[in-house]
Symmetry: C2
């Protein structure tokens, strides 16, 4: 677990001359006085003045407001300490059966982790289906993979209560009950933006802290970066809150310059994401059909099945590719891929195309690399683009 800490506090202190105060909770920003008020873990109040302030409070798991949500066998995963607690609980309590509440990235990745530990996994989802940004046929490929590996998922099945029952947990959901050793809440995250909201700073989508392309909040002396802050979506030009690692890290780099007088501008994100679940790679970038519609485009999509390698190459598997484009302009808006191999890195070609504002026709002309162990002669992305062309012209 220690290997996961890229830079511990003492390195900041000893090697970089940065004062780091652990156990200090900031509670209030007084913008007039340019002062932070807070409390230490020992219970003492503290006060600090600032010239420039950076809010990098991150996000926290969304815990449903249900009876029993504070039971010790109910867990959520965000930080390293959460991971340590879950791991300790699994081994000390000999956990054999888990319910995961939610089917987002964290839920699906943890399903794989638990499964690899020999734990029986159940998943329950409030929404009527899996990964709503995927076309139904592609979401079904993911559901089937879970099913094939013995991970059952129930949909439209919100959790209502959790109760202790003879050393186990009874999770009561809309349509059934689960008797398990542990419940993992993986129902998304919320930004830790309350301190910003209380100070009257502008909030963006999902109540994330609104920042411009220089990571400035609505107060020119206050910056925000990381999972607590929003971002511009390069495809729509609008604000979004998609708290993923690269943006958090990138905005941290940029804001480090900008709070000290720099002027680093971040154009924004296209919402690229990838995860592995059991034997599948699932990747996306840009907008789904529905997201494109909501953003005011007149979108079309086309779903193809292609192969991960040349047609006669051993180890060849199916790759599902969906591309979304704006019908009147032919502009590429997004895409998604599901398959056993070759999705994770392939999606990045599309991400670059979105940053460049390419049309489907332009993307189709790209000279992608071919060799039999890695791709058909026509990369699945090119085949998908070629077929989508017929719908935009």
């Amino acid at each position: 677990l220690e290997d996961l800490v890229v830079r511990p506090a003492h390195v900041f202190r000893e090697k970089q001359g940065i004062e780091v105060r652990l156990g200090h909770t900031a509670q209030k920003i007084d913008r007039q006085a340019r002062t932070i008020l807070g409390r230490t873990s020992a219970g003492d109040g503290f006060q600090e003045s600032y010239d420039k302030l950076l809010i990098a409070t991150g996000a926290r798991p969304r815990i449903p407001d249900i009876p029993g949500n504070d039971l010790p066998g109910l867990k959520a995963l965000k930080g390293l300490e959460d991971g340590r607690r879950i791991k300790d609980y699994i081994f000390s309590k000999q956990v054999r059966e888990v319910l995961i509440v939610g089917t987002g990235y964290i839920g699906l990745e943890m399903a794989e982790t638990f499964h690899s530990l020999g734990i029986q996994v159940h998943m329950t989802e409030m929404m009527p289906g899996l990964l709503p940004w995927l076309p139904d046929q592609m979401a079904e490929v993911v559901r089937k993979e879970l099913d094939d590996k013995g991970v059952g998922v129930r949909f439209s099945n919100g959790i209502r209560a959790v109760e202790q029952r003879n050393g186990k947990l009874m999770a009561i959901c809309d349509s059934n009950e689960y008797l398990v050793d542990m419940v993992l809440i993986a129902a998304g995250v919320v930004p830790n933006s309350e301190i910003a909201a209380d100070a009257g700073l502008e909030l963006g989508p999902a109540n994330a802290i609104a920042v411009d392309r220089f990571l400035r909040t609505s107060d020119a002396d206050i910056f925000s970066a990381g999972d607590c802050a929003d971002a511009f979506h390069v495809v729509t030009g609008r604000k979004v809150w998609i708290p993923l690692a690269l943006r958090a890290n990138r905005s941290g780099w940029a804001v480090g310059d900008n709070v000290t007088g720099g002027n680093v501008e971040l154009p924004g994100i296209v919402g690229s994401a990838v995860f592995k679940v059991l034997d599948l790679e699932v990747a996306r970038t840009g907008l789904s059909l529905e997201e494109a519609r909501m953003a005011g485009f007149d979108p079309v999509q086309n779903l193809i099945q292609s192969r991960s390698r040349a047609h006669a190459h051993p180890g060849n598997t199916t790759i599902h590719v969906n591309l979304v484009a704006d019908a009147p302009t032919g502009r590429l808006l997004g895409g998604a891929m599901v398959g056993k191999e070759g999705c994770a890195h392939r999606i990045n070609a599309l991400a670059v195309g979105l940053h460049a504002g390419m049309t489907v026709a332009e993307f189709f002309q790209c000279d992608l690399a071919y060799a039999p162990p890695f791709s058909p002669v026509w990369d699945p992305l090119l085949t998908a683009a070629n077929q989508l062309l017929r719908k935009v012209r």
Copy 2:
């Protein structure tokens, strides 16, 4: 082997109504008379008139003009029949030791194939090093991989003669001799452009048949596509001859429309290529430093080492990335990658960036997908772009 034939002749005849004449060698184009003259395999002359003509004669292996180059144990690989002959020879003659002449894609891929069959492989190369478009450090990674697997390569070591010696072949090179069961000539290919040259059609780089973006030769009624024809390089705007599968296939599609009255325009290629050699993936796109210099740019390059997965993820291996950019404008010109995983598809993000004419700064801002099994938070391409930025600003 039959599985490798995507569409046999009888399908053209029976399902598509296309007359296919096998065993007919076209020998001369009479442009005034719009007539083709040729000879059948039975030795009869034939003559055909045309309205539009397509020359799709492909390329052939370059066979060095040395004594013994017609011995039965000396092979070259281009078409399916070559593959069949090599396979038959290996098994019927119980081939245990092979010399490969040349260290290009075919030579390196065949080194892997022979090695996997338990055959001892030697390679000899006329040039002083491996893969001249790679920085020395990256070429050395490939050479070491060959060495680790018992494949020795000698450089500056052209082949001078091949002699029969007690059922084996003695290959006499500049600095040594090899006594082997088979010699594979993998010294590149040449375009089958003689018939076009004889008809006075314009030739391009490497004597490939010169075509415009509509695949028209210098005679408006004659088209050419496939490995025999040249192409525009999108980065330089100049003609190149890089006979690879996607371009050959793509130009075939386009020319099929254009000879029948269509108007499909192909912007060109960026020279993306990938191959697998033993446990390495080697990929490139765009221009090398030297190619960029030759094309009139003022290029800089930066070579980094990164990781194929998140730093603490099991199975993590080294990825070497080299990026090339034009110093005064910051424009991205090319790149190459070598590593055990994650190079083949990753290179395509860069290829799309080249098609879009991106600067290094623009490419660095791309939102590439991250998950621990597939990448560090900063994809190796982004880290490489970030470091290259310092050299172009």
